[in-house]
C-alpha cells in the first residue's frame, strides 16, 4: 500500500499507509496525526487540514480548485507549497509523499 510521511512541527516523522483513492486527510485522521483537524470531513470548506508539501511532491499534484486556493490564502503558516490534505488523493505515483504539518490551523 502507498505510504505518506507526515512531519510534525517538531520534526517527528509519522509514516501512514494510505489506500489509493483516499485523501491524506482521511489517512491522517485514521492515524490520529496531531495538527490535522479536518473539522468538515473533507469538503474543502474549513481549511483545518493544511499541510506543506515537499516541493518534489508538490509538483506532482493537480492545481488546487478555486475554493481550496481561496482557503490557502487564509491559512496560518502559508507556504508556496501549501495544500489542504483533504484534496490530496493518494495514487501509486504519490507513494512516499512527504508533507509538513503546521503548528496551527485556521480558526474562527
Amino acid at each position: 500500500m502507498p505510504q505518506a510521511v507526515f512531519v510534525s512541527p517538531s520534526g517527528e516523522e509519522h509514516v501512514a499507509e494510505v489506500p489509493v483513492g483516499w485523501s491524506l486527510m482521511e489517512a491522517a485522521r485514521e492515524d490520529g496525526i496531531e495538527g490535522v483537524v479536518a473539522e468538515c470531513g473533507g469538503g474543502a470548506i474549513c481549511g483545518t487540514c493544511h499541510v506543506k508539501v515537499e516541493p518534489k511532491w508538490f509538483a506532482l499534484l493537480a492545481q488546487p480548485q478555486m475554493m481550496e486556493a481561496a482557503l490557502l490564502e487564509a491559512v496560518p503558516e502559508r507556504s508556496e507549497t501549501s495544500r489542504l490534505a483533504c484534496q490530496i488523493m493518494m495514487s501509486e505515483e504519490l507513494d512516499g509523499v512527504r508533507v509538513h504539518v503546521p503548528s496551527e490551523q485556521l480558526e474562527l
Binding site: 483516499w22 490520529g32 473539522e39 485556521l106
Partner: protein, 384 residues
Amino acid sequence: MKSADAIIIGAGHGGVECAVALRAKGFAGSIALLSDEQQLPYERPPLSKAMLAGTMDVERLRLRSEAIYAKNGIELALGRRIDRLDPAAGTATTTGGEVWAFRHCVIATGARARRLAQPDGPGVYSIRSIDDVLAMRTALQPGMRLLVLGGGYLGLEAACTAAGLGARVHVIEQAPVIMSGRVSDVTAGRMHALHLEKGVSISTGAMVASWERTDTAWRALTTDGAVHLADIVLVAIGATPNIEFAEAAGLACNGGILVDDACRSSAPNVFAIGDCAARMNPELGRAIRIESVNNALVQARTVAAVLTGNTPDARKAPTFWSEQCGRRLQMAGLALPGTPCEDVARDTARGWLVERYQHGVLCAVEAVDSPVEFMQAAKRISIQ
C-alpha cells in the same frame, strides 16, 4: 465488574474526540469508550451526502483506525448500550447487565431520529447510522418516488442526493420556508431555487393530514390539498436526544442534559457533550442543545481540559455546514428566535454571504461557496 477512570458513553464525533483529547492532554487514568454500535466509530455528516450517493466507502468514514485506540490506551467497547446510570455509586450498566465502574463519566450519546406514529412500516426510513443509509440506498432505485418529510439540512441533503440518483423527489416542510429558523430568507430562497433546478419539488407551509398504505406505496394527503404517492418515505423531522437513562438517573435535564460551562451535569462526576447536552447560551439567554460536529468537538475538548486541570478554550460562535445541490453552505452563530433579523446579503465570487444583525449586533453569518468571506465575517460575531 468492568472499570475505568473515565468512561465515555457514545462514540460519535464527540465521544471519540473526548477520548483522544483526554490522552493528548495528559490524562493518566484508564479510558473506556462505549458504543452501542458494532462498527468502529465513524463520522455521520457524509451519511446523507456521499454515503447515500454511493461514492463513499464505510472504511473511509472511520474517525480513527482500530490501532489508534489501543495505542492511546483507550478501551473501545463496541456493542454496549448503557441503560442505567448511578452517579452516586459511580456505575453505568449496559442493557446486557454489564456493570462499568467509573470515576468520571462523559455522556456523548447524541440524538436519534424523531419518528411519527405514521407513516411506519415498509419503505419508511430515517438517516442516523450507517445501517440506516445502507438500507435506504439499497431500496432507492432510479425512477422511484421519494417523499421527504422535513425541509431541514438532513432532508434537503438527502433530497438532492436522491434526485441525483434518478429518484423523483418531493419535500414537505411545514414552515413557510426551508431550513426555517436556521438560515435567512435570502439563503432559504436561493437554495430553494437550486433544489427546484435539480428536479426536487418542495411544498412549504404544508403538513401531511393523513397517510394511507396501498399495496406498494404510501399515499399522503397534505393540508394544502395535494396527494403525494411515494415508494419511499424519508422522515427527517429532527432529532430526539438520547437522555432517557440520564433522566432516570436524576440528572437535571431540560430538552437535553443540562450542563455548565465546563460541560458538567448536575452530578459532579458526570459530564455531557454534543447533541445530548443542553448548555446555557448567554446570547440566547437559555440552555440549548446544538447539533453540530463543531459543537461536539469543542465540548469534548472542554471536558478533556477540565479533567486534566487545563483551562478550556474560550467560547466561540458555534459553526455548522451543509452540502446541497453541489453547493457548500456554512453557518456561524445563532439568531434569537422570534426577534427580527436585519439580513445584509452580498454576492461573492462563487456564491453569497449573509450577515445577520439583531438589535444592531452581528449574531450570525452564513455563506455559500465562500469559505474565506465566511471566516472573516464569523470572527466578528458578538460573543458575550
